[in-house]
C-alpha cells in the first residue's frame, strides 16, 4: 500500500478543484486552509513512516518500476514535503487577509493548491520525466499566480519568468532525451545503476552539465538568476512568499538528487563547476541586495545568495557539507517565506515597500519588529537562531577540506547579509515615517490571520535554533542516504521483482 505517499499529492488537487468551484464565494479561502491543513497532516504521517522505514516507494497504477510511474520518499523527500506543507499552511492562512476578492474570483486559491501539488510532486517523484511534468505543473500555476489580476508590472515580471524557465525546460527535456538514449531508463534508481555501464563517460558529463544548467535556472544560481529579482517583487505577498520559500528550493533539491545519485561519475569536474557557481552566487546575490532599496527586492537577492550556500554544500560533497546543505534548505524555506510575509504586513501598515520611504514600525508596532528580527537575524546567521547552525556546518565543512578562500567568502557574505538586514531595520523600523504615519498593528484588517502564520514560522525558527540536535541528527541520516543510495535503489527496484 502506498497511500501515505499519494495523499500529500491528492489532497491539494482535491482542494484545488473544490476551491475552484467555490471561487466566487468566501468559502474558497477556507477550502484552501482546510486542504493545506489536511495536507500537513498527511505529510507528517508520511514523515513518520519514512523515519521508521528509511525509504518507501509506490508504483502508480501497479505498473512495476522502472517502467511505471514511481513515487519515492526517502528522508530528503519526506522533509521537503513536510516543509512545503508547513509553508503552504502558513501562507494559506495569511492569504485570508492578503488576497482580494477579485483575485479569489479569478481562481487564486485553486492555483495556489495546484502550485503546492506541483512542488510536492517534484519532491516525491522517482523518475526524471515526471520531475519534468511536475516542473511544468509548478510553472503553469506560478505563471497564473504571478499575473493574476495584474497590471503592466506583473505581466512584465511574469513574461520574463516564463521565458527563462522555458529555456531551462528545453534544456531539461533535451538532457532527458540524451540520457534515455544512453541508458534506456529515466527512473532515478535504475539510472543510478545504469549510468555506470555507459561507455561514453564524456558524453555523460555533457548531459550532466545540461541538467546542471536546467536546474540552475530553476534554483537561480549565478549566472542564471536574472528572472528571480525581475519577478518576485511584483505579485501579491502571499504569492511571493510561497515562491521565495519553495520554488528555487525545488531546483536545489533536483540538483542534490541528480548530482549525488546519478551524476557522481566525474566529481572532479562537475562539482568543481558547482563550487565556483556557488561562490559567485553567494557574492553576486549579496552585492545585488546591497544596491536595492525595495523590501522585497532586497529579500529576493538574498534568496540568490543563500542558494549559493546550499549549492556550496553539494559542491563539497563531503558528508558534513551535504548535511549542511540539507539543514540549510529546511531552515531557509521557513525563514525566507516568513520575511516575505512580514514585508506584506509592513506594506499594509506603512503604505509602501521602498525602505527609504517608510518607517516608524519599531515605535508603533514593536511586536512586528520582534517578529522581523527573528528571521532576519536567522538569515544573517546570528546564534542561537537556525541560520547560525546552518552556516556553521557549511563553513566547518569548507574548513575541514582546507578551502580557506571559500570559507572566507561564506563568512564575508554572512557579514554582508547583516548589512542588508540592518538597512531594512534602520530604515523601515527604526527611523520615523517620512510622512509622519504611525503604523499600528491594530489598524490591520484580518490581524490574526496575518500575524499568526508569521509568529508560527518565527517560533519554528527559534525551536530549530535552540534545539538543533534532533535536526542535525536527521540531516546526518539524510546525508547517509544520499551518499549511499543502496536502500533507495533496492526499495524502488526490489518491489518490481
Amino acid at each position: 500500500m502506498s497511500w501515505y505517499l499519494t495523499l500529500p499529492l491528492v489532497i491539494p488537487f482535491v482542494a484545488a478543484i473544490i476551491a475552484y468551484l467555490l471561487r466566487s464565494s468566501p468559502l474558497g479561502a477556507w477550502v484552501s486552509i482546510i486542504g493545506s491543513g489536511l495536507g500537513l497532516i498527511a505529510s507528517i504521517a508520511l514523515m513518520a513512516v519514512v523515519l521508521d522505514a528509511g525509504v518507501v516507494a509506490g508504483q502508480m497504477g501497479n505498473w512495476p518500476a522502472p517502467f511505471g510511474i514511481t513515487l519515492v520518499a526517502d528522508l530528503l523527500s519526506a522533509v521537503m514535503v513536510l516543509i512545503t506543507a508547513i509553508t503552504g499552511f502558513a501562507v494559506a492562512i495569511y492569504a485570508l487577509g492578503d488576497i482580494t476578492e477579485r483575485q479569489a474570483k479569478l481562481g487564486y486559491h485553486a492555483l495556489f493548491q495546484i502550485l503546492l501539488a506541483g512542488v510536492t510532486g517534484a519532491f516525491l517523484t522517482g523518475d526524471l520525466f515526471n520531475l519534468y511534468v511536475w516542473f511544468e505543473v509548478m510553472l503553469i500555476a506560478s505563471f497564473g499566480l504571478l499575473i493574476l489580476n495584474g497590471g503592466k508590472e506583473q505581466i512584465d515580471g511574469g513574461v520574463k519568468y516564463v521565458a527563462l524557465n522555458l529555456i531551462s525546460t528545453i534544456l531539461f527535456l533535451t538532457g532527458i532525451g540524451l540520457l534515455y538514449g544512453m541508458t534506456g531508463t529515466l527512473n532515478f534508481a535504475d539510472l543510478a545503476v545504469k549510468v555506470n555501464e555507459v561507455e561514453n563517460q564524456g558524453l555523460l558529463t555533457v548531459v550532466a552539465m545540461m541538467f546542471m544548467v536546467a536546474f540552475g535556472v530553476k534554483a537561480a544560481v549565478f549566472p542564471l538568476f536574472f528572472w528571480l529579482p525581475a519577478a518576485y517583487h511584483t505579485p501579491s505577498f502571499s504569492v511571493s512568499a510561497v515562491f521565495a520559500g519553495l520554488l528555487t528550493k525545488v531546483g536545489v533539491y533536483a540538483l542534490i538528487r541528480m548530482f549525488t545519485m546519478v551524476f557522481d561519475h566525474d566529481i572532479g569536474f562537475t562539482h568543481t563547476v558547482l563550487l565556483w557557481v556557488a561562490c559567485l552566487t553567494m557574492v553576486v546575490g549579496v552585492l545585488g541586495a546591497a544596491a536595492q532599496s525595495d523590501f522585497r527586492k532586497i529579500l529576493s537577492f538574498h534568496i540568490i545568495s543563500q542558494i549559493g550556500y546550499m549549492v556550496l554544500g553539494l559542491a563539497l560533497m563531503t558528508p558534513l557539507a551535504l548535511m549542511g546543505a540539507v539543514f540549510y534548505l529546511v531552515h531557509h524555506i521557513i525563514v525566507k517565506a516568513n520575511l516575505f510575509l512580514i514585508a506584506g504586513i509592513a506594506k499594509r501598515l506603512t503604505g509602501g515597500t521602498d525602505v527609504y520611504k517608510i518607517g516608524g514600525l519599531y515605535k508603533s508596532a514593536p511586536f512586528l519588529a520582534v517578529l522581523f528580527l527573528i528571521p532576519a537575524f536567522s538569515l544573517a546567521g546570528f546564534p542561537p537562531l537556525s541560520g547560525f547552525w546552518a552556516k556553521y556546518i557549511i563553513v566547518k565543512a569548507t574548513l575541514d577540506v582546507e578551502m580557506w578562500f571559500v570559507a572566507f567568502i561564506a563568512l564575508a557574505v554572512g557579514l554582508m547579509t547583516i548589512y542588508s538586514m540592518t538597512k531594512i531595520w534602520a530604515e523601515a523600523f527604526w527611523k520615523p515615517h517620512p510622512d509622519g504615519i504611525e503604523p499600528e498593528l491594530k489598524t490591520l484588517p484580518h490581524k490574526t490571520a496575518q500575524i499568526l502564520p508569521v509568529a508560527g514560522l518565527a517560533v519554528l525558527t527559534i525551536i530549530i535554533g535552540l534545539n538543533p540536535e534532533p535536526f542535525v541528527l536527521f540531516a546526518e541520516r539524510t546525508t547517509e542516504q544520499l551518499l549511499d543510495p543502496t536502500a533507495y535503489i533496492t526499495t524502488v527496484l526490489g518491489e518490481a521483482s
Partner: protein, 139 residues
C-alpha cells in the same frame, strides 16, 4: 457573423460533432480516440456554434461555465484514480468489470479507465472553450 446559411449549417454540424465526440471517447481504449480527442472534437462543435450564432448563445447552449466544466472534469479524473483504493490497489490502478462475460467473449467491459477518460474529455472541453470564448469575446 450573420449568415443564414452558416447558422443553419452550424446547428447541424455542432450536433454531428458532439455525437462523433462521444463515439471517439468510447472507442478510445484500444483504438485511436479517447478523452483528449473527444474533448477537442466536442469543443470544435461549440466553437463552430459560437462563430455562427455568437458566444452568448453558445454559452447558453453549454449551460455551465467552461471553467467549472474543466474543474469538474479534473475532479472526475482524480476520482477515477482514487477509486482504486476501494480495491486496495495503488493510485490510478485500473479496475475492470466485464458484464455478461462468457468463455470466448469478454462481454461489455467497463472500467475506471473510462471514468478517467470522461474526466479528461471534460477538462479538455472546458479548457478549450474558456480560451476560445474569451478570445472570441475580446475581438
Amino acid at each position: 457573423m450573420n449568415s443564414v446559411i452558416l447558422i443553419a449549417g452550424a446547428r447541424l454540424q455542432a450536433v454531428l460533432l458532439l455525437v462523433f465526440s462521444g463515439y471517439m471517447l468510447l472507442r478510445g481504449h484500444n483504438a485511436p480516440g479517447g478523452g483528449f480527442i473527444g474533448g477537442l472534437i466536442a469543443a470544435t462543435g461549440f466553437v463552430v456554434y459560437a462563430i455562427a450564432c455568437g458566444t452568448q448563445d453558445a454559452r447558453k447552449a453549454l449551460r455551465f461555465d467552461p471553467g467549472s466544466i474543466a474543474g469538474a472534469g479534473l475532479g472526475i479524473a482524480l476520482l477515477a484514480g482514487v477509486m482504486a483504493a476501494l480495491w486496495g490497489d495503488a493510485l490510478f490502478t485500473g479496475q475492470w468489470l466485464f458484464i455478461g462475460a462468457t468463455e470466448d467473449s469478454k462481454g461489455i467491459p467497463l472500467s475506471t479507465v473510462l471514468i478517467f477518460d470522461i474526466g479528461v474529455y471534460l477538462v479538455v472541453l472546458g479548457a478549450i472553450l474558456s480560451i476560445a470564448f474569451s478570445l472570441e469575446e475580446a475581438v
